[in-house]
C-alpha cells in the first residue's frame, strides 16, 4: 500500500532527524564547556563517587576511530583510578593500531599532565595475558587490553577445545565443566576481571561481539560518539554507574 510506504518513509526521516538533532545539541553543549582538566580535580571527582568500576570496557561501534580522543578518554579513566580497561571494535582497528594508540597516549599524557610523566605504569595486552609478566604490585599500574572479534565467541571455542583436550587426556572430568570452573580458566587466560561497566560509543545499539561470557553483570551505557568526548560526559556515565544497585538475582 502506497500510504503505508509514504508514512514509513516519513517515520524514518523523523527518527533520523531527531537523532541528528540530539547529536547536535550534545555537541553545542560540549563546545560551551571547555574544561581545563587537572589531576587533583579528577581524583577528587573519583573520590566523590559511591563506587568506581574496576574494569571498564570501551566498545566503539563507529566506522572511524579517532586515536587522539580515545587516548584522552583513557587518560581520564586512568587518572580517576580505573586499573583495567579493555577496548573493542568489531573490525579490530584498535588492536591493529596498537603502536599508534601507545604513542598517542604518551603524547596526550605529557601534554595534559606536564612532565610528571611517570604517574602511570601502563601495560598493553592484545587479547591474552602475558604469562611472563609479574603480579600487579604498583598501585599506579593500568592494564589495557585490545580486543577483537577473535576474543568473543571464538575465544570461548578455544576454551571449549582446551577443556575437551583435558577431558580426553583424563585431566578433567566432564562433570567438572561448570560455570565456576570455566570462569576460572577464562580469567586465567585473560588476566582481567569481568568488566563492571561498558561504555559503548556510537549510534548502533549492540555490542557487536564484545566478550559474551564476561558481560553477565556488566552495566552497559551508551554515548553517541567518542569523537570530541569531554570529561563531563565520562564523569556523568561514571556517576550513572555508581548509582546502579546490583541485585544478583535477588
Amino acid at each position: 500500500m502506497l500510504l503505508f510506504r509514504v508514512l514509513f518513509v516519513v517515520l524514518q526521516f523523523a527518527v533520523r532527524f531527531t537523532t541528528s538533532l540530539l547529536d547536535l545539541t550534545a555537541n553545542i553543549y560540549k563546545f560551551q564547556l571547555p574544561l581545563k582538566h587537572n589531576l587533583p580535580k579528577l581524583r577528587a571527582d573519583s573520590k566523590s563517587l559511591k563506587r568506581l568500576p574496576i574494569h571498564v570496557g570501551i566498545v566503539i561501534v563507529e566506522d572511524e576511530i579517532s586515536f587522539a580522543d580515545l587516548a584522552n578518554l583513557l587518560l581520564w579513566c586512568m587518572a580517576m583510578g580505573i586499573s583495567y580497561i579493555s577496548i573493542y571494535d568489531v573490525a579490530g582497528v584498535c588492536r591493529q593500531n596498537r603502536q599508534l594508540l601507545e604513542s598517542e597516549l604518551q603524547r596526550q599524557h605529557n601534554f595534559a599532565l606536564g612532565k610528571d610523566a611517570n604517574s602511570f605504569d601502563v601495560h598493553f595486552h592484545s587479547g591474552e595475558w602475558d604469562k611472563t609478566e609479574g603480579p600487579r604490585l604498583n598501585s599506579n599500574r593500568v592494564d589495557l587490553m585490545l580486543l577483537s572479534l577473535a576474543d568473543g565467541r571464538r575465544g570461548l571455542v578455544t576454551v571449549a577445545k582446551q577443556l575437551t583436550r583435558d577431558v580426553v587426556s583424563g585431566q578433567r572430568r566432564v562433570e567438572d565443566i561448570i560455570p565456576s570452573h570455566v570462569d576460572t580458566v577464562i580469567q586465567e587466560q585473560m588476566g582481567f576481571p569481568d568488566p563492571d561497566l561498558v561504555l559503548k560509543f556510537g549510534q548502533v545499539n549492540s555490542l557487536l561481539g564484545y566478550l559474551p561470557w564476561q558481560i553477565r553483570l556488566t552495566s552497559i551505557l551508551s554515548l553517541s560518539t567518542h569523537r570530541h568526548i569531554t570529561y563531563t560526559s565520562l564523569y556523568r556515565s561514571l556517576l550513572d554507574y555508581s548509582c546502579v544497585e546490583q541485585r544478583l538475582g535477588k
Binding site: 517515520l11 568489531v90 565467541r153 571449549a160 577445545k161 575437551t164 580426553v168 549510534q203 549492540s206
Partner: protein, 340 residues
C-alpha cells in the same frame, strides 16, 4: 468507552502496517523486569506483581503476532533466582505450575496460532511436579511451527554454554566428532536454543542496563533496547517504539553480521585445510578434492552429532511425560549453585 477502545485498536493496527513496510525482527527476547517494583508501587503483594507480569506476557505475545514477530523468548526464572527467599521461590514455582496448566487449557488458542512452546534451561533443577506439567505442555505443542515461545526457566547463559561444552567434550571422547570440529557454529548448535535463530532484538524493561546472564552467546549481534517502564506497565506502544529502534539499527547490525559470517567461513576453511594437510602427509591426491571431501565428511559428522543431542533432549521430556525421570544434562549445575 467502547468506541474509544476500537478507535485505539484501529490506530494501532494502522501503525503496525506502517512499521511492516520496514524490517520486522523475527525473534524478540525479553527480560521481564519490574514485577516486584510494580507491586511495591501499587502496594500489592509480590505474587500479585508476578501474576500481572504473566498476564502482560500473554498480551505481548498477541501484539508480537500482530506485528509479524514469529518467535519470542522470555527470561522467566534464572538459576540465580533460587537464592531468593524460600517463600518467593515457592510462590514463583506455584505460579509457573498454574500458568503452564493454564496453557494446557488454552488448547484452541495454541492450535489456532500454531504455537510451539519450548522450555529452555536446566529443567532437572525444578520440582518434580513442575517438570511433569512442563513436559505435558512441551509434548502438546512440539509439532507446531508457526509461532514460537521459548520460556527460559532455571536458566543462565553461562550454565547453558557449559552444558554445550560438556556435550562437545563428551562427543569427542565418544568419537562422534573430532576436536577440530568444535567451532562457533557447532557450539551454537549444542546450546538449548539450537532450534532458534539468534534474537534480533533484546528488550529489558524497568531501566536496568545489564543482560544478567541472559542469552549472552546468542545476543552478541542483537540490538539491545533498555526501556524505563516496569514490565506490568509495558504497552503495545512501547513494543512499537522498540521496533522503530530496531529498524534504525538494522543496516549497521546486518553489516556487522555479514562481517562476522565471512570471518566464520574463513576460520572454518583454515581449520579444514590444516586438518587435510595433516592427513595428506604422504598422499599425493588433489588438495582441492581432498578439501571438499573433508568438508562433506565434517558436515555429516557434526550433523549426526547434533541430532544425537536433539534426540537426547527430546527423550528427556518424553521420559518425564511417561513418568520416567532421567537426567537431561550431567547434573552438575546444582552442585555449582551450592558452591556459590
Amino acid at each position: 468507552m467502547q468506541l474509544w477502545a476500537s478507535v485505539k485498536s484501529w490506530i494501532g493496527g494502522f501503525c503496525n502496517e506502517v512499521l511492516k513496510v520496514g524490517p520486522i525482527p523475527r525473534h524478540i527476547a525479553v527480560i521481564m523486569d519490574g514485577n516486584r517494583r510494580f507491586a511495591k508501587k501499587k502496594s500489592l503483594e509480590r505474587s500479585e506483581g508476578h501474576l500481572k507480569g504473566f498476564d502482560k506476557l500473554l498480551e505481548t505475545l498477541e501484539w508480537c503476532q500482530e506485528l509479524g514477530v514469529t518467535e519470542v523468548t522470555v527470561y522467566a526464572f534464572s538459576i540465580e533466582n533460587f537464592s531468593r527467599s524460600q517463600e518467593e521461590v515457592d510462590g514463583l514455582m506455584e505460579l509457573a505450575r498454574q500458568k503452564f496448566t493454564h496453557f494446557m487449557q488454552e488448547r484452541d488458542m495454541i492450535e489456532r496460532n500454531g504455537l510451539c512452546i519450548r522450555v529452555i534451561g536446566n529443567v532437572s533443577l525444578l520440582p518434580k511436579d513442575l517438570q511433569d506439567v512442563i513436559s505435558q505442555v512441551v509434548h502438546m505443542t512440539k509439532h507446531h511451527n508457526r509461532t514460537f515461545l521459548n520460556v527460559c526457566f532455571a536458566y543462565t547463559s553461562r550454565d547453558e554454554i557449559c552444558c554445550a561444552m560438556r556435550e562437545l567434550a563428551q562427543g569427542v571422547q565418544m568419537g562422534h566428532i573430532k576436536e577440530s570440529d568444535i567451532s562457533e557454529t557447532l557450539l551454537s548448535q549444542c546450546l538449548y536454543t539450537n532450534k532458534s535463530p539468534d534474537p534480533d532484538l533484546i528488550l529489558r524493561t524497568s531501566g536496568e542496563v545489564r543482560l544478567s546472564d541472559f542469552l549472552l552467546w546468542q545476543s552478541t549481534f542483537s540490538v539491545l533496547s533498555f526501556i524505563k517502564v516496569l514490565w506490568p506497565e509495558f504497552t503495545d506502544w512501547d513494543l512499537r517504539a522498540a521496533v522503530v529502534y530496531y529498524q534504525k539499527n538494522y543496516d549497521a547490525i546486518q553489516a556487522a553480521r555479514r562481517t562476522k559470517e565471512l570471518e566464520l567461513a574463513e576460520v572454518q576453511r583454515q581449520s579444514d585445510y590444516a586438518c587435510v594437510q595433516k592427513e595428506m602427509a604422504q598422499d599425493t591426491a588433489c588438495p582441492q578434492e581432498r578439501l571438499q571431501q573433508y568438508e562433506l565428511h565434517r558436515q555429516e559428522r557434526t550433523r549426526n552429532f547434533v541430532s544425537i543431542i536433539d534426540t537426547k533432549r527430546e527423550k528427556f521430556f518424553d521420559d518425564i511425560y511417561q513418568n520416567l525421570p532421567v537426567s537431561l544434562c550431567t547434573q552438575s549445575s546444582k552442585k555449582d549453585l551450592q558452591s556459590l
